[in-house]
């Protein structure tokens, strides 16, 4: 089967956005909260 040459240009990805910080910080806050719950209520 013949091979089609791939897309030579690298894909155009989006830039980093403030939304991503929000997701990361929310997740971090949740993990801290869950750790607190785990170790407080046992």
């Amino acid at each position: 089967m013949s091979e089609v040459p791939g897309n030579e240009k690298p894909p155009v990805f989006s830039r980093w956005s403030g939304w991503y910080w929000l997701v990361l910080l929310t997740m971090l806050a949740q993990v801290v909260t869950y750790l607190f719950i785990t170790f407080s209520f046992q």
């Binding site: 089609v4 791939g6 155009v12 989006s14 991503y20 997740m27 209520f41 046992q42």
Partner: protein, 563 residues
């Protein structure tokens, strides 16, 4: 169930189905039918993504999981927000820019037809198998609860979904999911409120955490690293990240949801908000299981949560044993209720020695209770050898049927049906898109007009729906339904992810190397599944690493031999 419940149940289902059909009538081209004309705002995309992932199994099985095993299942979702960010940066702009109908279409522009077809084939295998389970799981539980034949509940769920998915395509799937998710969350929160309101006076919200915590249920995070442990923070973050990258980046049932977004920004925001909301939503669903657990410290839980099975067993030789066990169980419950009350008082007074004493006493009583339940299950198994005595999936629905007022029972059953319909609809739509675009249009009838492909897509949607209903009717019971679905997903996701990661990020790799690496990767995963006890979440990493690693080796050999 009384007349009000039936009216609420069928009224809700009929409204959703009719609205979906009416609102999306007349889609006549592929862009309209498979991508909803790319017209959806971010919040519809987000709700559609969430409703697709949250199947009926999620709502039936997850509270039961928390009831028996605590909250640790939550860690499974920790990799999801990270996956949302990565996909928002990479996959979303790429798919939008290339104007693809399916994720696999992109693979032909990057590699070639055979790699696209292989990835589409893997997807059809995994989704084709799991769509049957998506219908079967709630159909089984509803048939048990309602006393209906399982074929009837299967047919009801399958045909209701088929009506609006066939007529309205992607747009019908997305707009009905908004309302289905609203009903689902409303119903779950109502059930939780009722469980809480029925706790003894003076037991606060905080006390439910403390009581459950003292009894080992608030095990939200496990920091130990263990490859064969299904749920710890590392398997959740690493294995979960890979699983969700595959699921949201390369599974058409999710890619199809955000491809319907009206712009890159709308699609991306849909994923971002899913990343923000998914873990808290799972926390709430698990916490409902904890509330039911606390509730049953003060109200007698059934000996077997699958009450229909217990009733059936009462007409067999197990009846005498079960009657004796039931009366011992009542005695043990009275003892437990008293100790649980003392524990709450000790917690409220901050009396640590009393907490430790009552905790030890409660653990002893719980052990006796678990022993009685095991004996009851053994007695049932002896009398009815084919019966499945695993009753975790019945904890929540049995609570609903026993303790919720009429009207709300109908609403909660509508929740289960809605959840089953919303995820099944996305899966059928994705199976139809992939078979129509990546197989039928690409390899069987490439030169037809748009109307022909719309008609073919409709027939394929109906065909997959019929297949799913037949599969659901023939399916055997898995030990725990939600885990079975996750295992089926993990069997293929790692390999598919390996193909997509190679396509997105590794320019060095070409089609033939990736194609053969994907076949080797799948063989390795199947070996792990059948011959080892490696935790299934790790299959995603292993599959992905093997595909990329083998592709590198093959590409290097190919490059050297062509010099």
């Amino acid at each position: 169930m009384n007349a009000i419940d039936w009216i609420v149940l069928f009224g809700t289902l009929a409204l959703i189905v009719s609205y979906g059909v009416w609102k999306t009538r007349g889609a006549s081209n592929m862009q309209g039918y498979l991508l909803g004309n790319k017209s959806l705002p971010w919040w519809t995309v987000c709700l559609s993504i969430m409703a697709t992932q949250a199947s009926a199994i999620t709502f039936l099985s997850t509270p039961g999981q928390a009831y028996e095993d605590g909250m640790r299942f939550l860690q499974f979702y920790f990799g999801l927000p990270l996956a949302m960010i990565i996909l928002s940066i990479t996959a979303v702009p790429l798919y939008h820019k290339l104007k693809v109908f399916t994720a696999y279409e992109y693979l032909e522009t990057r590699f070639d037809r055979k790699t696209r077809t292989l990835a589409a084939f893997y997807f059809l295998m995994l989704r084709g198998l799991s769509v049957g389970i998506t219908i079967y799981a709630p159909a089984l539980i509803l048939s048990t609860i309602l006393g209906w034949d399982i074929h009837l509940t299967t047919l009801l769920i399958g045909s209701l979904v088929m009506i609006y998915t066939v007529t309205g395509g992607t747009k019908a799937v997305s707009i009905t999911q908004k309302y289905q998710l609203a009903i689902i969350m409303g119903g779950m929160i109502t059930a939780a409120s009722i469980a809480f309101s029925k706790l003894p006076d003076g037991v606060t919200f905080g006390n439910t955490f403390q009581l459950a915590g003292e009894m080992g249920k608030m095990n939200l995070i496990n920091l130990s690293f263990n490859l064969s442990d299904r749920y710890n923070i590392w398997s959740g973050l690493i294995g979960g990240l890979f699983l969700f990258l595959s699921y949201f980046g390369a599974d058409q049932s999710q890619v199809g949801r955000y491809l319907g977004g009206s712009s890159i920004t709308e699609s991306r925001l849909g994923l971002i908000f899913n990343g923000l909301l998914k873990v808290p939503m799972q926390f709430i669903i698990l916490y409902i299981g904890i509330l039911i657990f606390v509730f049953y410290q003060f109200h007698q839980a059934p000996l077997i949560h699958n009450q229909a099975l217990q009733r059936q067993a009462m007409s067999t030789s197990a009846a005498t044993d079960l009657t004796k066990l039931e009366s011992s169980y009542s005695v043990v419950f009275q003892e437990r209720k008293e100790i649980a009350g003392k524990l709450v008082t000790a917690i409220q007074q901050g009396d640590n020695p009393a907490i430790e004493n009552t905790k030890a006493a409660l653990a002893e009583v719980q052990k006796n209770e678990a022993g009685l339940r095991t004996q009851a299950k053994q007695a049932i198994k002896k009398a009815l050898p084919k019966a499945n005595t695993q009753d975790k999936d019945y904890v929540f629905i049995n609570f609903v049927m026993t303790y919720l007022p009429h009207g709300l029972i109908g609403l909660l059953l509508a929740v289960v049906f809605s959840a089953a319909m919303s995820s099944t609809a996305s899966e059928l739509n994705a199976l139809a898109s992939t078979s129509a675009v990546d197989i039928y249009k690409r390899s069987i009838r490439p030169a037809e007009n748009d109307g022909h492909y719309v008609k073919a897509s409709k027939w394929l949607t109906a065909g997959w729906a019929v297949f799913a209903m037949i599969f659901a009717s023939l399916a055997n019971q898995a030990e725990n339904l939600i885990q079975f679905v996750n295992i089926v997903g993990s069997l293929f996701y790692g390999t598919i992810l390996g193909i997509f990661l190679s396509a997105f990020y590794i320019k060095y790799l070409r089609s033939t190397a990736v194609f053969w690496a994907a076949i080797v990767g799948e063989a390795v995963i199947l070996y792990l599944y059948f011959f080892t006890d490696v935790a299934f979440l790790l299959y995603n990493i292993v599959g992905c690493v093997v595909v990329v690693g083998v592709a590198f080796i093959l590409q290097t050999i190919e490059n050297k031999s062509s010099r």
